[in-house]
Symmetry: C2
Subunit: 424 residues, 2 copies
């Protein structure tokens, strides 16, 4: 057994032991740990800055720049935000231990379900130190132990943060190993983390699609996946044009990089002649490239200075994360739903309509984690949904779909209360 395997086995066993204590932890202790963590974050500005400076220097030397360098920065603002996040999670109700649906059965037993932590989750993420605290705080409140593997560029920052987490856990009488950070940048550690069901109950990867696909293919434990967000907004035949204009512009242009931004616009043939020239003009003004079907191109009309091209088949499946939108004219609600279910990524899709039956059919028949009526796909977010925070957004169908908060880190076990009943 080499040193890395030995190290990972130690981390895994410690997590498994800590998980039992985290699961049984009183709500007050978990909240105390979260508030202590918030306090320690605020008090450790200079130590965190020093650790982060090492990472930043190495990253700059390695040629990192732009958004990749920005998200590595542990600024006072970032620290204030994650500290506040810990306090918000402390203020939320404890999901663990809730018993629901307890019903008496004809046999005399009462049967219900209790919400319990999953056990140990492993999280693999990019070089964003704030995620270390977000994951740690969700783990603490949900009564799980976790093993964190952050991007290697952020190792010094993450180690400094993980030390604060352990100290906060200890202060609250919880196991300091409830949250562990893998202290090596050896990539083989990931392979060991995702293949040990005896140590880890579920893996939550965050990052690029190819990374997540690779982890899913190689994992021997369940994975809560977040693949791409090819989100659609469909403008129905019966629609408030003013509302549609506002919502589509928000869904596409409020921010280009999030996974819940609309990448594809579908417009019913009856709305298209009026709607497309208007939306085209605003998109052009905002510098958004339009890739349209033949009917779209004909209806958009001349848009001097705008980049308008014919969409290829590949465009319908594309997650641009950029000022580009694909546009297609459809002849019916059926065609819109079929198009979304075929080309979409089952992330978030919206219908804009005044017709109730159309709204209800869209909600029911579009097979996506979030389905929306008359609002912006940009709302698909744990905070906007009232989850307090999110550990990720799932594009899976089992267990958790869409934004995953505290509840997604738990499961339901059956509780049966009897008075000596036996099976006959």
């Amino acid at each position: 057994m080499n040193a890395l395997t030995q190290y990972m086995d130690g981390v895994g066993s410690a997590a498994r032991s800590a998980a039992a204590l985290m699961a049984a932890a009183p709500t007050a202790a978990k909240n105390q740990a979260l508030l202590s963590l918030a306090r320690r974050l605020r008090a450790s500005g200079s130590a965190l800055k020093a650790a982060n400076a090492k990472d930043l220097a190495a990253a700059k030397a390695a040629g990192l720049k732009g958004p990749l360098l920005d998200r590595l920065k542990l600024t006072p603002d970032v620290i204030a935000t994650v500290a506040e996040g810990c306090e918000q999670i402390a203020a939320m109700p404890d999901p663990v231990g809730e018993i629901s649906g307890l019903k008496r059965r004809p046999s005399g037993i009462s049967v219900g379900q209790m919400r319990v932590p999953l056990g140990v989750f492993g999280m693999i993420y990019e070089s964003r130190p704030n995620v270390t605290i977000e994951a740690a705080s969700l783990a603490i409140k949900s009564g799980n132990a976790c093993i964190l593997r952050g991007g290697s560029e952020a190792l010094h920052s993450n180690l400094a943060l993980a030390e604060l987490v352990s100290a906060a856990l200890k202060e609250a009488g919880l196991p300091p190993t409830g949250v562990q950070l893998i202290n090596t940048t050896d990539r083989a550690a990931v392979g060991l983390l995702i293949t040990r069901p005896e140590h880890v109950d579920v893996i939550i990867p965050r990052g690029g699609k190819s990374l997540i696909e690779r982890i899913s293919a190689e994992a021997k434990v369940p994975v809560i996946k977040h693949l791409d967000g090819n989100c659609h907004t469909y403008v129905d035949a019966e629609v408030d044009f003013g509302l549609a204009l506002t919502v589509v512009i928000n869904a596409k242009t409020q921010k280009y990089s999030p996974c819940n931004a609309t990448e594809s616009l579908l417009v019913h043939a009856e709305s298209a002649p009026d709607f497309l020239p208007h939306i085209g003009a605003v998109l052009a003004e905002k510098g958004v490239e339009m890739r349209g079907c033949a009917r779209t191109l004909a209806l958009l009309g001349p848009l001097p200075g705008a980049k308008v091209t014919a969409a290829t088949e590949a465009d319908w499946s594309e997650e641009y994360l950029a000022p580009i939108i694909s546009i297609k004219v459809v002849d019916s609600l059926n065609e819109a739903i079929a198009h979304i279910n075929r080309y979409g990524s089952h992330h978030t899709d919206a219908i804009l309509t005044t017709n109730h039956a159309h709204a209800m059919r869209f909600l029911r028949e579009v097979d996506s984690a979030s389905v929306m009526v008359n609002t912006s796909t940009r709302f698909a977010d744990g905070f906007e949904y009232g989850l307090g925070a999110e550990i990720g957004i799932s594009t899976d169908k089992l267990h958790a779909r869409g934004p995953v908060g505290l509840e997604g880190l738990t499961s339901l076990k059956w509780v049966v209360l009897g008075q000596g009943e036996v099976r006959t």
Copy 2:
């Protein structure tokens, strides 16, 4: 592409197409299909008998006997039971489309969750034709399409049953390919079924532990696993001895083969001197072999004619499915919980106690799909829990734990209702 791959691709594509129609099917149509299926089953006694006779003749020629041959039999009783099961499922509420927790958020949007089918499930099971109808009826009501792969010895029986299912679906205006049975005994079909996420959303295997482990290891789609049921009953220090005697005897001896039978008895040291001789005498009388720890052996005392041996370390992990029980004396509730979490299979475990705090700690800290107080582990069953029927019992932690009924074949997607709100 060989013929089998081509066949399985056809089945998979047909299932995927059917899934959209099954998901959108009105409750009335699904119920009509179930009632039609019940009627057809009752009316097809002789055709089913003829098909089953072919299977039975081949099985006998191949040397099959005992319980393996028994469960292959499609007797009038079995047919009546599955027909009644279809009617019961028709009478249950439709889980699909239910919207829960719809709440207004500060942004103005309303956010809730809608219960929806998983899509396509694949089921791999032993040579028990009744399972074909159970799986089909649960698929229909839950709005899923399914692909069934029954044991090869039951192929003729299953094909005859599957024909009735398709006819019932057709009569109700639903796609006849909503339920498909794989019509070949080629084992390679299983490998193709479990590795195509484009065709199947989840695999539910039923059968021996080694089969399920192999399927889980090779699958490229999520698996709802049912591994072993090493269930415990723990007799606390504070306990009603009469209740404990009745419940333990039921949990162990009412039936030896089910996965929810108790395989291991834990007794607190304070109860052991009184309780063990009594339970030992009854178990001896029923012909149950006892494998005890050293203290158990000393306390059981002489039991003439009974088989009493020293338990080995391996006994604590064993699922006997036979008239054998392992017995251990423990010094505390803590030790009982730790033993169960270490050696158990996270299936079903019970505490017998009069102490409320002990009951609540056991419920919370034992990490099993079903945790019980003062009743028999034999109650861990979809029908006893009020699920109407079960497609299996999950020993997984994610998605569904314990008996999996209609709800376990669904998931929750987010629904967001707005009036033109945008993200700022």
